[in-house]
Every structure is written in C-alpha cells, then in structure tokens.
C-alpha cells in the first residue's frame, strides 16, 4: 500500500461514504471510482460512480476497495469486491451479523483477497495514503507500525507516538470474526523495510493476541513488539462495547493475553502513555 494505490469506494453516495471520500481525497489518496446501486453515471467529489463493482473495474484499475455500505448489505459488498478480484477489501461497516461476516470473509479468502475489518477504522500509511476514516492529525510519517483492534484507542496511541511517527497503522476491527488477524498484519510489518518496530493494541476476547505472542516466541516475528491490552478491569461475560470484547468459556482473558506476551518477552504497557518509552 503506497501513494499510488488506486481505491474504489463502495457506498460512495451515502452520508459516511461521501464525507470520508472527501477526507481521503484531501489526504491525497488516489480514489479511482465509487459504486452505489442505482446511482451509476453520477459523480461524487468529481469521482465517477458505477452501479456495480464489475462495471467500475472494467473502466478503472483498482488495487483496493473501501466499504461504507450499511450493515444489511455490507457482506454482499465484500463478496462483490472479491468477485472482481480486488486484492484488498477494507470494511468500515459495523454491526454485520457474525455468520454473514464469516461467509463473506471465507469467500474473499478463497478468491485470494484480503479483508481488513469489518468494524475497522481502516489503514493509513502517513504522508502516502489513507484508506479509512482516521483523523489525520494523529499521524506522522515514521518507522513504527501499529496494529489495533480498537478505533479510538488507535488514534490515542498514534498521537502519543507522534514524535516517532508511524510507517503503517491498521485498525483490524473489533468484531469477533475479522478478515485479517494481528498475526497476518505483524507478518506483513515484519517484511516491510519501512517498519522498525510494532505496537499491538489488543483487548479482552478471542485468542488473536495469544496467537501473535506464540509466533513471536517461535521467532517468526523478530522486530521489536510492544503491546497494550484494554479490559483489565472488565467483568466476566459482559460485552464491553465492541461486539468482540467479551470473554466466553474463559478464552481470551486479559490475564491470558498478558501472560502470553510475557512468555514471548514482549513488553506490555500498563497504560497507552507508557508505550513511547518502551518502544
């Protein structure tokens, strides 16, 4: 992902779609086209709109898609993008039922596409491109990669690290089922020459953080990793805002995540404000 990445906006005529198209464009993201069923032939911010993804990819070269389609149709939008062989599908939409996400994400994977999200704030390579809804003021070009399950906490940590700057920041989304995991992104950052170290922002629920920690312990990730986990004081079996932030059957507790990182010799920050001195 770089300044030349050509982006399609699915749901470009909606309230969020049009608003963030403008913001992404002003961040100099290359937006090639948009889609909105029934609005084909119109324009948003001077960007041509098509009824379907299929029509858009016939006319334009597309590397990535960002989805602002409402939850009721967002899973279809993922499948549609995958069918047109778009390799990176960033899904901002939240509240997609888990089973629908599961089916769509598996289909996209079977077609060789990567999905970021759903319920993701997107990704940003500062000074290059932003495919997301992040407030640009928090980011500056640098060499720290950030992988996060939480939107606002990403902004907070990015801002705390502003002096250092970031190479790539990815909000992978807070839902129980998401397309790309922490480990998937950590492997990409491990291979990225622009990234020196990685900050991981996790939270209770699921075992994605534990899986990343095991891979670090096995030596698959060699770059320096600092972790922060939210939800230390969350009561058991209560959903803490995010659909994914809930502990079932004792899996994915705050303690199990912290212990997994400690076993892998990863420093764990107690608060987001400790991260800069640890990295």
């Amino acid at each position: 992902m770089n300044k030349d990445t050509k982006v399609l906006v699915q749901g470009i005529t909606g309230r969020e779609g049009s608003f963030h198209t403008r913001l992404m464009k002003s961040y100099s993201t290359k937006i090639a086209a948009g889609t909105s069923p029934g609005k084909g032939g119109t324009q948003v911010e001077g960007i041509p709109v098509y009824d379907t993804v299929e029509e858009a990819v016939k006319e334009h070269e597309i590397d990535a898609s960002i989805i602002f389609v409402p939850a009721s149709n967002a899973a279809d939008a993922i499948v549609e993008a995958a069918d047109s062989n778009i390799k990176l599908i960033v899904t901002i939409t939240e509240h997609i039922p888990v089973i629908e996400t599961l089916r769509a994400v598996r289909y996209a994977k079977s077609r060789g596409s990567s999905v970021i999200g759903p319920n993701s704030p997107g990704l940003i390579a500062p000074d290059e491109t932003m495919i997301g809804i992040m407030p640009s003021r928090a980011f500056r070009k640098g060499r720290v990669g950030i992988i996060s399950r939480s939107g606002t906490l990403t902004y907070e940590v990015a801002e705390v690290l502003k002096d250092r700057g970031q190479s790539l920041v990815v909000g992978i989304g807070g839902d129980p089922i998401i397309g790309s995991s922490m480990l998937d992104l950590a492997k990409e950052m491990e291979a990225d020459p622009q990234t020196d170290s990685i900050v991981v922002i996790g939270e209770i629920g699921g075992i994605m953080e534990e899986r990343l920690a095991s891979a670090i312990a096995r030596g698959e990730i060699k770059k320096k990793v600092v972790a922060y986990m939210a939800g230390m004081t969350a009561p058991k079996e209560k959903r803490m805002g995010h659909a994914g932030a809930v502990v079932y059957m004792g899996m994915g507790t705050f303690q199990s995540k912290i212990e997994a990182f400690k076993r892998a010799n990863v420093k764990v920050a107690k608060t987001p404000y400790e991260i800069p001195e640890m990295i």
């Binding site: 509240h95 888990v98 598996r106």
Partner: protein, 339 residues
C-alpha cells in the same frame, strides 16, 4: 441479547432439542402436584449457588420464598431423574473461524475446571453422524439422540443469529438426552433480522445497551470501546473504582451524548464522572452540547478529556458552562481522583 432460560428452551424445542415439561409463573395459575423443580428466571448466572433453583414437593411455597428475595418470574418443571450430566455448547470459534462445539462434564463450575473438549464442524459440511458417534461415546448416550441435539444447536448458531447456545446440564437418561437448562445469547447485530421471528415465538426482544454496571463510585464514559475500557483500567490503576462503563459509540450527536451522560449520572452510586472523548467521526462540539444539556438536569462533578474533530468549539462550549476541559488523560484522572 441474553435470553431467559424459558425463552432459550422455546428455541431448543423449535430445533428438536427435548426439554422437560414446564409451566411459566406467572401466568400459570394451577401448579403441578408432586416433585418439581422451581427455577428463578434471571438473566444473571449462578442461580444454583444462590439457592434459586429448588427441587421441591411444594412449588407454591418455593415460589413464595423466592418472591421474598425479589424474584418475579419462575419456571416450574417436571423433575427428571437421570444418570449423567454433561455440558454441550455451540458458538462460532473466532480462531478457526468455524462453528465449534464444546463438550464437557456438566456442573456449575464447568468453566473453571477447564476439562472441556472442543470439536470444530465446518460450515461447508454441517453436523454428520460420525461427529455424533464420537461425542456419544463420551456422553454414554444414543448417537442418534446426540446428533439431534448437536444439529439443533448448530442450526441455532447458523440460522437464528445465536452467538452462544449452551446446555448445562444436558441430562442423560437411559441413553436419551434432555436439556435441563438453557443459556442462549442472540447476537445483537442479528436482532434486526430475526427480531420478528423471536417475537412470534413469544421471546421478548430488547434493544441492546452498551451500558455495563460495576461496583465502584466513578462513572466512566468514552467513545469507542477500546478507549473507554482503557480509561476504566487507568482509573483502577490510579486507585479509583469505576461504577459503570458506557461507550457512546461512533458519531454520537448532542442528544445521544445527553442521554448517555444522563444514564451514567442517574446511577446513584456515581459520585463523579470521567469522560474520555477522542473525536474522529464524533464531533467534540456535539459532545460538549450533550454534556451541558445533561448537567442541567443532574449536576455532579464531571472531568472531561476532549480532543479531536472540532475540539476548539467543544472546549469553548464547556468552559462557558464552567466545565473544565482536559487534553491530558493521566492528568484528568489524577485530578478526578484527588477531588
């Protein structure tokens, strides 16, 4: 959305899982004679440990006693003698991204004991006889019966928007299976699609709330689950004790912020409020207006961090109304705890 035991059992029967004969009180007037089980219908767990599940010959007396403890709804069930008890649940496994069964010996401490085996059953193939055969050996039950129960739970997860369908205990009696309890959680995101189906089955549908009550005296409010959780954790680390947790969500407007703030302020345990807002989609001026509106109705000390989109406007609105604004979270928490 968590279902009551009796509501979960309505779904169980719908998908072919056997449950004991039962009556809901109220509305049932005539209570059965003889040995029955009276179970308080509450959404929180741990009923057994609190004496709210009773085997009795006198249902009306058990109901009377539990009413005195504030219970309002009861399930009166036939007593089912049985040989073994097991735990069986189905949910989507986040790790394998497949539906997964969890099987264990039944009992009230099943989660702590950790003696649970899991079995992933891919969506592409669904539950097959060999799955049931394998599980039936452990359960000492008839494999056809095991398959009925597994298929039922599986159908709930795939077709009814259920995120957790759990039976504990699942009783084995002469090789046949009967669900003595139910724990069913409907995924909030599915409610819009299956709400009508649930209503038609007599299941009460409630709008999900992001509000979580805790034990302390400081109200916690934020935008975004991660930031709100982090704020709650930092308050605890600094020696404070959160009274509740409320994520106002993304893009909250003046009215939503006001209602959210009031929800926290109305909690009698809340002595002061810590609000942590980083505006992205959310606009700080809308947040400020909502906070000011809420404080006009209930006035308690509010410590607010307000950064991000439209922060200057938001800051001005709050300061005009004598609410101090912070940008530094640790300083805000420190000041709030010292006050």
């Amino acid at each position: 959305m968590k279902l009551y035991e009796y509501e979960g059992k309505i779904l169980f029967r719908k998908v072919g899982i056997k449950t004991p004969n039962s009556l809901l009180v109220p509305p049932a007037n005539d209570l059965p004679k003889g040995k029955v089980v009276v179970k308080a219908q509450l959404l929180e767990g741990g009923r057994g440990k609190r004496g709210l599940v009773r085997i009795t010959e006198d249902a009306s007396e058990a109901i009377k006693q539990m009413r005195e403890e504030g219970v309002e709804k009861f399930l009166v069930e036939e007593y089912v003698p049985h040989e073994y008890e097991f735990y069986l649940s189905c949910m989507v496994d986040r790790d394998s991204q497949e539906p997964m069964f969890a099987i264990g010996k039944g009992g009230i401490n099943v989660e702590e004991e950790g003696d649970i085996r899991t079995r992933v059953v891919s969506m592409e193939r669904g539950v097959r006889f060999f799955d049931a055969l394998e599980v039936s050996k452990f359960m000492k039950a008839n494999p056809e019966e095991v398959m009925m129960v597994m298929r039922g739970l599986y159908e709930l997860v795939l077709n009814y928007g259920v995120e957790l369908a759990e039976i504990n205990p699942l009783a084995v009696k002469d090789g046949s299976l009967i669900a003595l309890d139910s724990k069913v959680i409907i995924e909030d995101n599915s409610l819009i699609r299956i709400g009508e189906t649930l209503k038609s089955l007599g299941i009460h549908v409630e709008r999900p709330s992001a509000y979580v009550e805790l034990d302390g005296d400081i109200g916690i409010i934020g935008n975004g689950a991660g930031l709100t959780m982090a704020t709650m954790d930092m308050v605890k680390i600094a020696g404070g004790s959160p009274a509740d947790f409320l994520d106002v969500g993304g893009g909250a407007d003046r009215n939503h912020v006001k209602e959210s703030m009031l929800k926290v302020l109305r909690n009698p345990k809340v002595k002061k409020v810590i609000a942590n807002i980083y505006g992205g989609i959310t606009r700080c001026d809308e947040v400020a207006l909502g906070v000011v509106d809420a404080l006009k109705e209930i006035n308690k000390p509010v410590y607010i961090r307000l950064s991000g989109t439209n922060e200057e406007q938001g800051e001005r609105i709050l300061e005009e109304n004598n609410v101090k604004v912070y940008h530094d979270v640790p300083k805000m928490i420190g000041d709030a705890l010292r006050s």
